[in-house]
Amino acid sequence: MALTGLEIYKLLPQTNCKDCNYPTCLAFAMKLAAKQADLADCPHVSEEAKTKLAEASAPPIRLLELKGSEGEFQVGNETVLFRHEKTFFNRCGVFLRLQDSLSADELKEKVAEADAYHVDYVGIDLYLDGFAIEAASGDPKTFGAAVAAVAEKTKRPLILLAATPDLAKAGIEALDETRPLLYAADADNWEAMAQVAKEAGLPLTVRAETLDELADLTGKIKEAGVEDLALDPSLSGYLDSLHKLTSLRRLALKENFRPLGYPVITFPGSTESVDAAILAAEQIAKYGGLIVLDEFDPSTLYALLVLRENIYTNPQKPIQVQPGLYEINDPDENSPLMVTTNFSITYFSVANEVEGTGRPAWLLVADAEGMSVLTAWAAGKFDAERIAKDVKTFNVADKVPHHKIIIPGHVAVISGELEEELPDWEIMVGPREAVDIASYLKSMWTT
């Protein structure tokens, strides 16, 4: 169990010496509890405390690291079941599966296209995390050549879907200076696969039909000297995936059950009669670790990568909306322009009120770091400078040639400064509360 700040504090020297660069021992202890500080920063901590704290902080889901010739990918270290408790830690991976039955040229072409895939989502660059190459041919040579072909076109991490030691070796040999994930050891081949993984120092996937068998296998493989593992619990469809992945996450987190405390690899396209996009989406939300897709389709991939970004955002960040110029009720060049902050509840209450008036209007949502009007103003995040900057950023002047801007009544005090920042604009002071917008517009906006 994780220790609370107070429990950790009792293990610290309690001298408030500030050598850790925190103002008090308790402040440092609370940062440790939140896993935002390192115990090593305290030069005075006792050995006993070190031992106790280390036990409490070992991650229940072991971190798995893959490396391509350039890219790196990490998954694991999750500490919560629900994203509102704390940020999901390492984004689950989205990989694309290719078969070695394709010719080298076909492979290169496909990899090149998928590797070049980048899409911008609110300033975040989204792309595939890597590729999985399947030894469908069953021939080590063919597989080795396919792996080499793929590696020629991508520098991202790879997964080698090679079910025999020979195939796996062939794949490994085709690569250098990388850290691919091997797939997979099962009840029949685990000894040999573990041997390969151990020799090559690579992580290994363990596959079984049931969680019982899976736990048996990971235990044995760990004993054989391979510690970096991924799990394939052989999923069949939406419900099986939900049940097994929920159980795995709960076992690791709530029971601290080490034999199953590893990231999970899934193949949503493998189950017939299942919509791969929907299953992949389920696994993004519900505990998937490495999600291997069979098709490269931007219209699906974009949606999935956005969903992953959403699910893995920090839930403690104030709920924000995207800053920008919003259209309400289809405004035109004569419609009023109001400005507010990008705190979601502020935005919603203003937008709903404006929408409720039935009048067309422009709403400039300024980037106030997700704070409400008063809080943002208090913290200097919603001042004349910021508003003027966003007026320019979002080309507001082009849309509203009347150059009148209505600011929230709560920040009436900035109207003078805003006049200086926006010299050719008329600054109007709107109501303090959103609920008064309708009557305000009725009386003040007559065009």
Partner: protein, 322 residues
Amino acid sequence: MAVEIPKEKWTAQVRKVTIGATSEEGGTRAKTLTVGGESALPFLHYEGSFPNKPALAVEIRDRKPDDWSPLLLDALGETAEDPAKWAQAAEAMGADLIYLVLSAATADGNPNTPENVRAVVRKVLDATGLPIAVVGPGQAEIDNELIVPAAEEADGERVLLGVCEEKNYRTIVAAALAHNHLVQSKTPMDVNLSKQLVILINDMGLPLERIMMDPTTGALGYGIEYGYSVMERLRLAALTGDKMTQQPMIVDPGAEAWKVKESKVGEGVPEAWGDWNRRALNWETLTATTLIHSGANIVILRHPENVARVRKVIDDLSSATT
């Protein structure tokens, strides 16, 4: 090694809510829709019971909407011209609930009238045997003006009336009380606000069995994570015994997903967004299925194909055989 599957011991369950009334119950519906009653997190059949599957509502309008994506209007074709046909088409798609949204203005730009609302509600009730919801255009004064005649016209049908918001719920709740209907209680993505409005509505005398909770969601890419987490938190609170969070939840992925650029716009967007139609369909579906995993009891959809697509997922997830 025998791994013991961890199970949560929940102490409470989601409240059951029934929309629609058959002739025996004082209405004219061929069937009713009951949602809620589950006693565990979504689809974890091994630790609770799930007497009712999540349901699909299909949104229809009292007239052809001006601002819907052409993809939607193409898919709907001429059914969008007439609310009765639209309702029948929705029933054919596999809807469990007809979600009728009234417009603020008629096609010729005049304000919508109580008379027109009565006529439309009557038409829809006659056209389908499914239970219905009737909600206003979302402008307090107009909502109140239009929902009251709708409630009168559908007296006794146990219609879901909406939308109750913190600033405007009294008139709609009063109409629901007077004519034996239910209400949709909508709050902006906040656990406490959700509870508060349910309490205020309940304090007016409307039983909890007649309140659907709408915690609001954003579409994929537009705040879905907030809606998702608020719903998860509400559901966790419900299962641990917090009475005022035990209302079944209704959310509107259809409206949310179809108003974003990804669905609305086909040209001048990045190539990496992929095929417009497939993308738009994914947007609505993935928004809906993700919310179903966080506890939605009714999701409102728009596109006919997606009704079938989401239905299949719900059926698979609801089969306790695996």
